[in-house]
Chain length 165, copies 2
DNA sequence: TATTGTTATACTCTATAACTATA
DNA sequence: TATAGTTATAGAGTATAACAATA
């Protein structure tokens, strides 16, 4: 097993399997990038048959859960730029999984809806995604998964609400 | 404050501030991407005076903590591709913060060393980074930070060691 | 044959700015 | 004036493949 934490490798003789993390030890950003990167790769492999990007998956899920939602709100919740959502929804429409309808109340807005095909696709995708997530989070104790999500959300809210210091 | 969790928005009337996360509720990948993205942005703002990429920071820290380390080991620990490390070390050399020396034992390898200037820069960078991290993780309870890192590491090890399912 | 470092290439994700139509 | 969506563009991050030198 990889040793991913600090250790006592003497200077000048770094082991091949283990490395001293030095000042990165206890550094959240480093661990987060590393994990996120692996998860994107792994998730991509699991969904490779669909050739679906994480952003499309997330957008489809948000649209299905919030019929009539505007693009700008999808962007805000998923932390996308509104320009990125344009391309994501383009893709979803091309697949026939979602559609834009001009909002009657506010004609600047596109109300987004998942199609029947989109709902069906989401079911399939979720079955795969849930299996994948379960496999990963089996590395945690039963109650840690909810704890982890709670912590991630609190960190995210902190970053959204205030300026970096 | 943003409501980032599920709620009872009725179909067809999604609120502007809150959105139903639907199947994404409890979905780790989604939360992780959102947080990671914000942290990269925020960290970039904090270190903007250095015009330093997260990868350079991590590489410098690993090299400083492991004098003589090979590029391939930096890549493995930080989860970079070995080709990416070439560019990162190029940058560090250009700044005068690190240097390559051909290894005597294995002439395929470049042994990496932080320079005095590199050590000094790392001190400055770490002061800023630590301040930033402290500000963010103040959103957590005192013992949660260590818990979080422990969980992230266990998830990462799971992903590194086994094939996705 | 396998590994280390390198180069070249391409693709995804994201950021930004400018534009339009609507409010 | 401000907002929603769009377009165009550029940059960062990463993955892949091929190659030379070395093991």
């Amino acid at each position: 097993m990889y040793d991913l934490s600090a250790n006592d490798v003497p200077d000048g003789q770094p082991d091949e399997q283990t490395l001293n993390l030095g000042v990165l030890e206890g550094f959240l950003g480093f661990r987060l990038r590393r994990l996120h990167n692996r998860m994107v790769q792994s998730f991509g492999q699991v969904l490779s048959e669909f050739e679906l990007r994480p952003g499309e998956f997330a957008s489809l899920a948000l649209i299905a859960a919030n019929p009539g939602v505007a693009q700008v709100d999808v962007a805000r919740i998923a932390n996308f730029d509104k320009a990125s959502v344009v391309a994501l929804v383009d893709d979803l429409e091309r697949r026939g999984w979602a559609e834009r309808r001009r909002s009657a109340e506010d004609r600047r807005r596109h109300s987004l809806y998942a199609t029947r095909a989109g709902e069906a696709a989401l079911d399939q995708l979720m079955a795969l995604a849930r299996k994948h997530e379960t496999w990963i989070t089996d590395a945690l104790e039963p109650d840690e998964r909810a704890q982890l999500i709670s912590m991630i959300d609190r960190l995210y809210v902190r970053l959204v609400e205030e300026e970096p210091r």
